[in-house]
């Protein structure tokens, strides 16, 4: 699969010159959700904590960045840092809820956290604008002294650059000892504990890091979409991300972005195919994926082995 990376990167950079502005904005949205999917893959695939709740730090980072954009700073980097730190802080607060549980219990708890955040976002009108959402965030300039990102193309390239940098950092970190530790926790927790590794601390760090990544994605959502509503963080988004991560091969963070792109493209295609029947077709897609994917993965493993 490695030979695919260079052409994919080339296509991603060239895309805004080949596509119309609407498609470019859609692609930017896919990139943003792909970055959230990276954090889902980090937890689900690498650390072994299956999650449906990464929309929660995503939302926290997005609302924090939007508040900053509306009231004080229009510099992209400060908004990204704001998103990352609020996402990480949110994750740090919810660490005791998540890292002591395993397996399906994590799925259940994270789902509850995500849904509660959406409920809170639709009630806390003074900050989030409630169900009406927040609009009118000005386009940021990436750094002090650089021009404002006032076209869809510029915003897309900005998102591409940020996603690329974060993705490279995650891949490099996972190649080193930290990736080994997390995979160890996933595959044989008892043995890790027996050799003296603080499994809980590793998982807590991974969870907070995933929260920071989702927070960065939230800040990018503000830049690319310039509009926020609680519907951006709903349960269906969390499920789409999980499906994208599973399609991409749960242990692969690069695959997570590709899988999410496939799932989002399929969703848009399906809802255009039969207007008003989108959820029904999407549900059918989930059911089909649940039956087809495990067998496909099994065959793939046999071919490799």
């Amino acid at each position: 699969m490695r030979w695919l990376i260079a052409p994919a990167l080339l296509a991603a950079v060239a895309a805004p010159w080949l596509a119309d502005p609407y498609t470019t904005a859609t692609l930017a949205r896919i990139l943003v959700l792909g970055l959230v999917a990276v954090s889902v893959a980090l937890l689900t695939g690498v650390a072994g904590l299956p999650t449906l709740g990464q929309t929660a730090p995503f939302a926290a980072g997005a609302y924090a960045a939007a508040t900053l954009a509306l009231h004080s700073s229009s510099v992209g980097v400060t908004q990204l840092l704001m998103g990352a730190s609020v996402g990480a802080a949110f994750a740090a607060l919810t660490v005791p809820l998540v890292v002591y549980a395993r397996g399906v219990v994590v799925l259940m708890i994270t789902l509850a956290i995500g849904e509660l955040v959406v409920t809170a976002a639709s009630r806390w009108r003074s900050v989030t604008g409630g169900t009406d959402g927040l609009a009118g965030m000005p386009s940021p300039r990436p750094l002090w002294g650089l021009p404002v990102l006032d076209t869809d193309r510029a915003r897309y390239l900005y998102a591409l650059a940020v996603v690329g940098i974060v993705l490279c950092a995650v891949v490099l970190l996972l190649r080193g000892p930290s990736g080994m530790y997390l995979r160890g926790c996933r595959d044989d927790e008892a043995r890790m504990r027996a050799s003296g590794h603080p499994v809980g601390a590793y998982l807590a760090i991974a969870y907070v890091a995933a929260g920071a990544i989702a927070g960065v994605a939230g800040s990018l959502l503000v830049t690319t979409q310039q509009y926020l509503s609680p519907a951006d963080f709903g349960f269906d988004v969390a499920a789409l991300l999980l499906l994208g991560v599973v399609i991409g091969g749960a242990g692969s963070v690069v695959g997570a972005i590709a899988g999410t792109a496939v799932v989002l493209a399929a969703r848009d295609w399906l809802s255009g195919l039969l207007p008003g029947r989108g959820p029904l077709l999407l549900g059918a897609l989930f059911i089909t994926a649940a039956y087809v994917l495990p067998r496909f993965r099994f065959r793939l493993r046999r071919v490799v082995a």
């Binding site: 689900t44 299956p50 449906l52 607060l93 919810t94 005791p96 809820l97 002591y100 549980a101 395993r102 397996g103 399906v104 219990v105 799925l107 259940m108 708890i109 789902l111 509850a112 956290i113 849904e115 509660l116 409920t119 809170a120 009630r123 806390w124 927790e189 349960f235 269906d236 499920a239 999980l242 499906l243 599973v246 749960a250 029947r277 959820p279 029904l280 999407l282 549900g283 059918a284 897609l285 989930f286 059911i287 089909t288 994926a289 649940a290 039956y291 994917l293 495990p294």
Partner: protein, 294 residues
């Protein structure tokens, strides 16, 4: 005295709400604890029961009884069908189970909206209890009092079934050690079928009887699923008896959703968070023991 008095009605509402959540969450605990399946379509089963109640109800007791029979039959069949759909998925594959049940919830919700429209439907309660009852100087909806009595009886019956009957013994054994139950010759496939059908029946019962409290509409499934998930998270770890723990948690969530909203209108979702955080943080060790990876 007057201050306390003003909160009597929301507090009583909280009991009704909590008992309703208890019946739904008991179904979720069954499928989750015994069969190890996180059924994301559980809220949809409730919604089916509620839509049946809204369609059949005409203000007579006979219609309510009819709705109960039809609704429970439909959701029991729904649970059994889910069990059949989940059969090819390996037991430990939680991700695939979650994707599958979410797909069913999404498609099922869409079909319900197609069949019944996108509005919240009104539900008529039997005429004899469709009037306010005088309660220590306050008017209170008669149906809710009846509901509280019925749901409390249901909770007691459930407790008796779990502690006194052979089926209940099997459920407790499967909660404790599913592999040993399989070794003793009880087919895991049959356990899953029975558990998901029973879980569907509980969701349907709650849906039909609770329709006047949480009515049928496009958002019903998600609301019910979320609140019963919180109940399971809170109640699954408090104390030895699963039924009592779930009941306590359900009543607490019910009070937060009604009394909490009356006392502090904006803080209710945060209160749910705080309750979850407190319980889980306090019981993190018990959590590891209880839900250790099988």
């Amino acid at each position: 005295m007057n201050r306390v008095d003003a909160y009597l009605i929301p507090a009583l509402d909280g009991v009704a709400y909590g008992l309703l959540l208890f019946v739904v969450a008991a179904g979720l605990v069954l499928s989750f604890g015994v069969a190890g399946i996180l059924n994301l379509a559980h809220g949809t089963l409730y919604a089916i029961g509620a839509y049946v109640a809204a369609t059949l109800s005409d203000g007579s007791w006979l219609a309510l009884l009819l709705a109960l029979v039809a609704g429970v039959a439909a959701t029991t069949a729904g649970g059994a069908a889910l069990s059949g759909m989940l059969a090819p998925v390996p037991r430990g594959d939680h991700l695939t189970q979650a994707l599958l049940t979410f797909g069913v919830a999404l498609a099922g919700g869409s079909v319900l909206v197609m069949a019944f429209g996108a509005e919240n439907l009104p539900v008529r309660v039997p005429a004899t209890v469709d009037r306010p009852v005088d309660l220590a100087g306050h008017a209170y909806a008669g149906y809710r009092l009846v509901f509280i009595a019925v749901a409390a009886a249901l909770a007691l019956a459930l407790h008796a079934v779990v502690t006194r009957t052979r089926a209940g013994m099997l459920v407790r054994a499967a909660l404790d050690d599913p592999d040993m139950v399989a070794c003793l010759g009880v087919s895991p496939a049959r356990v899953r079928l029975g558990v998901l059908a029973a879980s569907g029946a509980l969701a349907g019962t709650a849906g039909v009887l609770g329709a006047p409290i949480i009515g049928p509409g496009p958002g019903t499934a998600a609301t019910v699923l979320l609140l019963s998930l919180v109940v399971v998270v809170l109640g699954g770890h408090s104390g030895r008896s699963s039924v009592a723990g779930t009941l306590l948690a359900a009543l607490a969530v019910g009070e937060i959703q009604t009394l909490g909203v009356a006392l502090a209108p904006t803080a209710a979702p945060f209160l749910l968070f705080a309750a979850m955080a407190a319980v889980l943080a306090a019981r993190s060790h018990g959590l590891i023991r209880r839900w250790s990876p099988a």
